[in-house]
Every structure is written in structure tokens, then in C-alpha cells.
Symmetry: C3
Subunit: 274 residues, 3 copies
């Protein structure tokens, strides 16, 4: 199935509108290109509707939220819904501040998302709207491992049902579900948390793949998370071989996404259908 | 001639004021340094005049336009004109939104630009102020190839005459003209469109070269476009040799600009004087 | 002593709140991770207090100052002072504009900084609040070399006394002092000035090290400046060996910080206690 999904991107290279943070925005633009799309990064409230109108999907990432941009996100999201485009949300750091909690709540209330992607602490915060205290990155006790995987799956299914969309939880083991179908992905490498932007880029890849595969949102979300994890593995191999560090890792991660093909994906993907 | 132009930059390393987008701003700063200048990136309306006053050229790039920054661009541009500094415009994505069309029109009306750089769809949109629908990146049917090169040249000359400045059109074949003199540059590689920022960086290099060569704006524009294209070729050779992808390509592109010298430029430049 | 300081970071990986410029913000986030911390990059006035409250230190960098963000910096700084967190300032380009001079003056007046880091022209401008004309980068005649090192040390001690904090001056020879103790660091490489962000990243590393070593601000400032300089040396060796340029240099600089350990630091550090 991934073969067809990848071909759809090649046949119809999508325009992906990203409203994202200024920390990793360059990585997001480059990963959209690496994944086969073209990025559009406009965020002014007076042009987001025009830009959405020429796009094939929309990615909203609240990494560096500010009052000016929240309004743009809402306007863009509503327009995308109106046009039937897939909309992907990365609720970065939700739980870490009142502004984030309120903004993300508004976004969820006003926009129909196709996919919400986050780490487990973000997805929990999203669900409970409770305050966590670990900032933007994942909490130690939120890591999903084999001990609590069953419980985690049930929880994420519940979240997917509540928000009526695909939920992609990234971590040591990634969980993707549309509330009924569930996949666990065991690709990835711990070094992915030693660079900024891995999560943001995963969201951009999901948005890119969705844009050309509107009828297979669950499958492309699984594929995107797998491609990122696998690229992390390959990038890690390369820096070990070349005695390099985290910045080279980032470079090779994007490189690998740009070189990804079906055969590599098929050979190395560690996807478990639950 | 390029020998002298490159020497001027070494002898008088310029300060280049960039008011640009937050997606590729880091690449722009690094390419200014690679090209022999020092970047200044201020964009607050309350300081742009001070910053222009200590700069040797100004680069305006509307990639992520917003209301706050448009005012800064106008103020900076007028000050630069007053001081007789070269001003370079990259009208990124003009045609893609009403905001972009109106803002770029105002910039063109109020500021005297030395060079305007864009892809063919942007230069067309600039000229016709008509709406195109392909977003920030170039349209398939806007690519300049050998079939329509004569027609393209005549059009770009007309644009240069209308705006009374050098026009640099980047694409499979680059066209640079001051409305009378015309150069075609056949350097470059298709992978340059697989990373974000190639166009923005080209604008920054033009602004850097102009800053130390105010009396040779046409020649340095040709040189800048050639250096970028040639660096794309060299970067591509390197990633093939090392089995790397798009992010490594970006790294080597900037590397090559930083290592560029007259002998390399002379040996590999594919410039045709029309 | 550095052994213990490095261990403290490993034992208590800190959350480092960075309010910084949009040019080098990605480098800053990545260097915090490379140095063993986790970056938080929020800058909206409505959430900076929440974010400071979950952080272990605060880094304020005025590289691309704007009116919106100055208020956030003040609010975050005061909150950090209230909570007893280390606060590090990089007064980028102070002296280059009225806005910068006034903003930095306000920041200094309202916030107690633990460390202020800059090049010599910035530290001079900070002290005299006089206007310099060389923009963001260092002036030729401000370079500290062996000719005027005695005089420079006395001046920097005076500044440290005036602002009651550690001053770290980066240049050909780095000077770090708390007004009584003084260290000179002779690590580093000239190519560090050929990429953007070296200074900003140094500030982020200082803030990261301070966060886990609140009682040794002077020592960790010396260590941070040394680690950056040493990483510049190693990065330069690598690009010479691989025939690469400035962008690869940036990659290897961050790489080396991520791979730094006590033995390497001990072996190559060139620190002179004055």
C-alpha cells in the first residue's frame, strides 16, 4: 500500500502550507521538499486564506505561539476545512503555559483536524487540559515502553475518538490510531531527541503525505512516522561511521528522507498492526 | 572583470542589511558571510534607518511578509535610496496573495531598486500584477528553456526597462539584463529547487556583491547568479560521491560559495553574452 | 573542577528558556541540546512567565530586537530574578541603533544578570552607552590581542564591577571575569566569525551550563567559552581535512560541542588564570 501512497506524492507533488514556529521553520520547509512537496510558509492574517486556497494541505504547529499568529491559524484552519483540505496539528508544549492551553483548546474547538501529532505528555495535556510541568519536551514518566503499552494504546484510541481524527504519538514506540485501527512503530533512535525539530518535521511530513493522499490519512500518518524513525536510524549509523555529532545527525536525517524509496521502507519498517 | 569585482569585496568587506523572511534568514546570513560580507538582520521599524545608515547595501525579501515588517521595508528602502546604497528586491511569491501583490507594488512604487531577482512566474506576476496560482515556487510552464528563450529575453528586457533596474531571472537558464545588456547563465542544478532558500540566498549574494561594487550592478548580478549556479553543480557532485541527500546539498552549496575564487569561476562559468 | 560541573549537567539536564533572535534561534536550540540541556523558546508576553517558571535558566539575546519582544524579555527576566534563576544577556549589536541602546539600558536597569557576553565593541558600547558605527560585528580596532591585553583586562574588570556580574568577552583572546577573578582563553579559530551564530550559541551554552551550576557562574562561563573555542578548532581541522567550507564548519562546531567530554576539554583547553 505504501508503494501507491508514495507514488501519489510523486505524481501530484503537493503544496503544503505550514504555519509554524520560527525555531524549526527552516527544517520544516526542507523536510517538506525532501518528502516530495513544496512548502508555503505564510502566516500573516491578511494572506493566509489566499495561501490556503492554493495549497493541498495545512500544517499548524504552535511551537512559538504568539497572539498575532493564533488568529492566522484559526483563519487558515477554517478555510482549509471549507475547502476540504487535510489539516495537521502539532500542539507543541501544550500544558506548559496558560496561553498554549487556551490557544490549543480554541484551535481544537474551531477546526476539524485530520491528524494531531505529539509526544505522550502533549497528547495527555491535550486530553486532560491539565497543566504539566515539563515544558516542550517529553516527561520521563510519559515515555511509552513495553510495560504500559496496552494502557497507552487504549488511552490514545480514546483521544482519537474524542477528537475524531488520527492521533500520532511519537516516542520510544510510536502509536498511530484513528480510534479503531492501531499501528505501533518501533523505528527511530534516541538521538532524535538530541536535535530540535524532529517532532515538527514529523508533522510536516504527515501534512505532505496527507496532501496527496486525502483518502488514506491513517495509512500516510503511519508511513510518515515510520519514514522519520527509519531516517533517524540511518542517520545515526552514518554519524557513528563518520565520528560526527548531533548537527551532522540532523543533516543526515533530512538527507535520508529525501532519498527514501519504497524498497528501503519495506525492508526496514518495523510496523506492528495491533 | 570578475577578478576585480571579487577583489573589491575582499578589500572592502561590506555590511549588508537584510530584511528577509524567518524561514531562510539563517541561510541568508551565512551566505552573506560566505560571499565575503557581514550580515545585519534588523527589521524593527524603530531601528531600520539606523541600521541602513551603517550598511553598504540593503536586501528586501518578502518571503514571510507581515504588516509590521512592510513598514520597516519601506522606511529602510527610502533611507537606502537617500544614502545612495544599492537596494535588491526578491518579490517571493508575488502573485500568490492580495497582500503580496499590494505590498510589492508599494515597495516598487516607493523605492528605487538596483536589482530585482525572482523566478519567471514572480517576474511575470510583478509585471502583469495578475494573479498566478502556483504559490511561492515556479510554475512548470514558466520554466525558461531553449524553446522560448528568445521570447523570454525580450520580456525580461521589457521588465528591466519598466522598473529601470537590473532584472535577474533564475531558472533552468538564468537571464540577467539591465534592459540593454543581457547575459544567459547555464550553470546550476535541478537539486537547487529541492532545498528551501536557494532563491533567497541568491538575492543575499547579489546584495553583498553590489555593496562593494556600486558602479557595476549588472556585472555583479551576473557574477552572483553564476556563483550560485556553479556552487549548486559542485554541491551536487559532492552528494553523489558521498551518497548524501538534500540537506548535505544545502551545506555544500554554502561551502562552495565560501571557497569560491576567480580561477574556479573562470574555469566553470557558463555565461553567454546575448 | 570542570569534571564536576559537566557531571552536574548530565545529572540534572536543565530546561533553558531562550528569548533570542530569529536568525540563529535554531542554532541556539541545537547547541543547548548539544550542551546537555533542553531548549524552551517561547517569547509571547502572555506566556513567558509560565515558561520561566518551569525553566532552570534564562537567556536573553537582542539580535533581532522588536518592540513586541522587549516587553517579553523584561517580564521573563524579572520573573527569573524572582525565582533565583541565572539570567544571561547577549547585547548583540548594542551601539548600532538608538533602539538597541535604549532597550539594552532598560534590560540592564531592570534585570539582575548573572553573565553578560559580547564582543569587545559591544561590551564597550554597553559601558559607555556611546554610539559605535560598525554594526553587529566586532570592529577591527576592538580586537583584543597581546598588545593591549593588560588594558583590556582592566577595562573588562571595571565593567563586571559596574554591572555586578560575570562579563565574558569573546574575540581572538577571550576574557572572562567576575571583576576579581580573571581568565584568558586562547582557544578558538578565526573561521568562527565566518558563520552567523557563534556568539549567540556561546550565550546559549553559558545559560545551559549555568542552569545546572548556579553556584559556579564564573567557572561555567569560562568553561562554556573554552568549549566553544575548542569546538571551533576541531571543526576547522575537520573542514581542512575534508576540503569543505563554512557551512560544514558550523555543522562540525555543533557536533563537537555534542561530543565534548572532560578528557578532551582538559587536554586541549588553553586557559590562563591572570
Amino acid at each position: 500500500m505504501f508503494k501507491k501512497l508514495l507514488e501519489n506524492i510523486k505524481l501530484n507533488p503537493p503544496l503544503v502550507h505550514n504555519i509554524t514556529n520560527y525555531v524549526t521553520v527552516n527544517d520544516c520547509a526542507n523536510i517538506v521538499l525532501a518528502a516530495g512537496g513544496s512548502p508555503l510558509m505564510a502566516d500573516d492574517v491578511n494572506e493566509v486564506e489566499d495561501i490556503v486556497s492554493i495549497s493541498n494541505s495545512l500544517y499548524i504547529n504552535v511551537g512559538t505561539l504568539n497572539t498575532r499568529v493564533i488568529e492566522s491559524m484559526l483563519k487558515a484552519g477554517k478555510k482549509a476545512n471549507e475547502l476540504g483540505l487535510p489539516v495537521v496539528l502539532d500542539p507543541v508544549g501544550v500544558g506548559a503555559s496558560k496561553l498554549r492551553n487556551e490557544s490549543v483548546k480554541t484551535l481544537i474547538d474551531e477546526i476539524d483536524f485530520s491528524v494531531i501529532k505529539g509526544n505522550m505528555s502533549e497528547i495527555k495535556a491535550l486530553y486532560t487540559n491539565a497543566k504539566n510541568t515539563g515544558g516542550v519536551d517529553v516527561q520521563e514518566d510519559d515515555l511509552v515502553d513495553n510495560q504500559n503499552i496496552e494502557e497507552a494504546i487504549e488511552f490514545v484510541k480514546k483521544v482519537a475518538k474524542k477528537f475524531n481524527c488520527v492521533i500520532a504519538v511519537t516516542g520510544a514506540i510510536d502509536i498511530v490510531t484513528d480510534s479503531e485501527k492501531v499501528c505501533l512503530i518501533r523505528n527511530g533512535h534516541a538521538m532524535m531527541s538530541k536535535i530540535t525539530g524532529t517532532g515538527c518535521m514529523t508533522g510536516s511530513v504527515i501534512a505532505t503525505y496527507c496532501a496527496s493522499n486525502k483518502d488514506n490519512i491513517f495509512a500516510v500518518s503511519v508511513m510518515a512516522v515510520t519514514v522519520m524513525g527509519l531516517s533517524g536510524e540511518k542517520a545515526y549509523e552514518k554519524i557513528v561511521e563518520r565520528e560526527e555529532g548531533t548537527s551532522s545527525f540532523r543533516t543526515y536525517l533530512i538527507d535520508t528522507v529525501s532519498l527514501m524509496d519504497f524498497d528501503t521502507l519495506k525492508k526496514y519498517a518495523k510496523i506492528e498492526i495491533v
